[in-house]
Amino acid sequence: MFHRRRATMAAFLLPAIVVYGVFMLYPLARGVYLSMTDSLGGPIANFVGTQQYRAMADDPAVTDALWHTVLYAAVVVIVQNGLGLLFASMLFRRPKVRRTLSVVLLTPTLISPVMAAFIWSYLFAPTGGINALLDLVGLHGLGHVWLGDTSTALYSVAAVNIWMFTGYSCAIFLASYMSMPTELLEAAALDGASGWRRFVSIEWPLLAPALTVNVTLSLIGSLKVFEFPLVLTNGGPAGATDTLTLLVYRNVFGGGKFAYGVALSVVLLVTVVVLSSATSSLLRLRERRI
């Protein structure tokens, strides 16, 4: 009886395995194969081994894009989670405004990255909102062509990403705060531990799992960022905001270098998997030591 039951149960997996296998695993495997051909997307393709990958080594656009992608991710991960933690710990200490403000902070998360990028493309424009605001408060000297200057473009794009997802980081930290054992916090308060001291020796260690989740999520998310640089700068100026995803998109659908684009997507996959699994296992190790 139990044997038949288990067989029926295993059959529940079939629809998922079929859809996931055909539309995820098979394309993944085919992508790895295509990256070792000279395919143009048509039926004719010759196996060329590692030729596409070797071509990348001589392509400064690729090394630049890789660097931009990693730098962008580092800025987003650090600033977004730093701000999220700051907001969460302040909100935790203020129960009256906690719920309202955390919902307000989450609002940017709801909109599409495309829409966020639209809004900010105007805010960053030379005569747009930010420069006008700086004029208004008398800081005219700080006015800047934010997206048009190679030294600020990447950080400006990252700022939009941070604006959108800080509320998300904050919500995760706050959820972790809310699950802290009340007795421990009360005991700390009775012992006179307050402010910074309480944060360092009690809250920070208890936040370790939330930090792991936050860092891993924001790292994966920012490594595969696409809509922000696409809409805001389309890789410019002078390639200063070209990321791996933009390069993949341009090569695959721009015509002519299909297999090269696919090979770039494999590089993206390796980057994401290596960096995210290394980071999350490091952070998990840290969790266990605390």
Binding site: V22, R98, I119, L223
Partner: protein, 308 residues
């Protein structure tokens, strides 16, 4: 939104957790008798409100600018609006074919969400209950999908869809969304079902209940809270996605809101008075849903961070 999420470790975090519980720790540090400390606390609250305001300011600015005339905005981008108009909205409405494209987006999002929850919960049941080598391997294979960016599969998927004659069809797009979101659903549901004691199911099995009946009468009703959390997350992903419809739906009649807004509006030449209404129209349906399901949305977004 980041297209990854971690599953709740226990059923308690997914909507059933009492969000209203106020820990004593939040208030005890502010002794009422200490004016200096109270001043510092008040200052902190003020700073906090100011910081939060900075995050919504771009929103408020977008709404106000959307309601102004182009000439008025050109004169002073941050000035007080002299006259308000709804004309920008009606222009954007027709420019991005808002009605039809919203219906397209709704259809795609709805079908994908339905399929993801059905297929995902079915698959999660054996993965949670059968503990053998093969099932662990299958589970790992699904979880692998949570860190695979769409870009890695977009080119081979394009070829596959072309070969299957599924380019320019809703079926094709929905199938892609199911495959992309199944890892999250499987992760969510499996960890949730694992936290449900198996006693009830064993009793049902002894009474002669088959796997089908057990799943539909015992497991499925318990999955409701985690499903609402998952749906919030998945529908946000699909509604806001640009890449999949951009690549796989070429027919203008089938395009989604995001694609229309993206292809009709060039942010570098177009006025904010036509840019902003379009941006707002694209998010209005989601904001309405958010108002209704506020608690689930917040729970859904923060699910998984809490280890109990």
């Amino acid at each position: 939104m980041t297209s990854d999420i971690t599953a709740p470790d226990a059923p308690s975090v997914s909507g059933t957790r009492p969000a209203t519980r106020l820990p004593a720790g939040g208030t005890t540090s502010r002794a009422p008798g200490n004016p200096l400390r109270r001043l510092a606390g008040g200052l902190g609250t003020a700073l906090l409100c100011l910081g939060t305001l900075l995050f919504v300011l771009p929103f408020l600015f977008t709404v106000v600018t959307s309601l102004r005339t182009a000439a008025d905005v050109a004169r002073s981008p941050l000035g007080i609006p002299h006259s308000l108009t709804l004309k920008n909205f009606s222009d954007a409405f027709s420019q991005i074919h808002y009605g039809p494209s919203t219906l397209n987006t709704l259809l795609i999002t709805g079908l994908s969400c339905l399929a993801v929850t059905v297929i995902g919960s079915l698959a999660a049941y054996p993965l949670a209950r059968i503990t053998q080598h093969w099932s662990t391997a299958v589970y790992r294979l699904f979880i692998l999908g949570t860190s695979v960016p769409v870009f890695v599969v977009v080119a081979p998927l394009y070829l596959l869809m072309r070969d299957l004659n599924l380019l320019d069809t809703y079926t094709g797009v929905v199938l892609i969304y199911i495959a992309l979101n199944l890892p999250v659903a499987v992760f969510f549901y499996t960890s949730f079902i694992r936290s449900i004691p198996a006693d009830l199911e064993e009793a049902a099995a002894l009474d002669g209940c088959g796997a089908f009946r057990t799943f539909f009468t015992i497991i499925l009703p318990l999955l409701r809270p985690v499903t609402s959390t998952l749906l919030t997350f998945v529908s946000l992903q699909i509604w806001n996605d640009l890449l999949v419809p951009l690549v796989f739906l070429q027919n203008p009649d089938k395009r989604t809101v995001m694609v229309n807004a993206y292809s009709f509006i060039d942010p570098h030449t177009v006025q904010p008075t036509s840019l902003f209404p379009a941006a707002l129209l694209g998010v209005v349906p989601l904001l309405i849903i958010f108002v209704f399901f506020q608690r689930q949305v917040v729970a859904g977004m923060s699910a998984g961070a809490v280890k109990s």
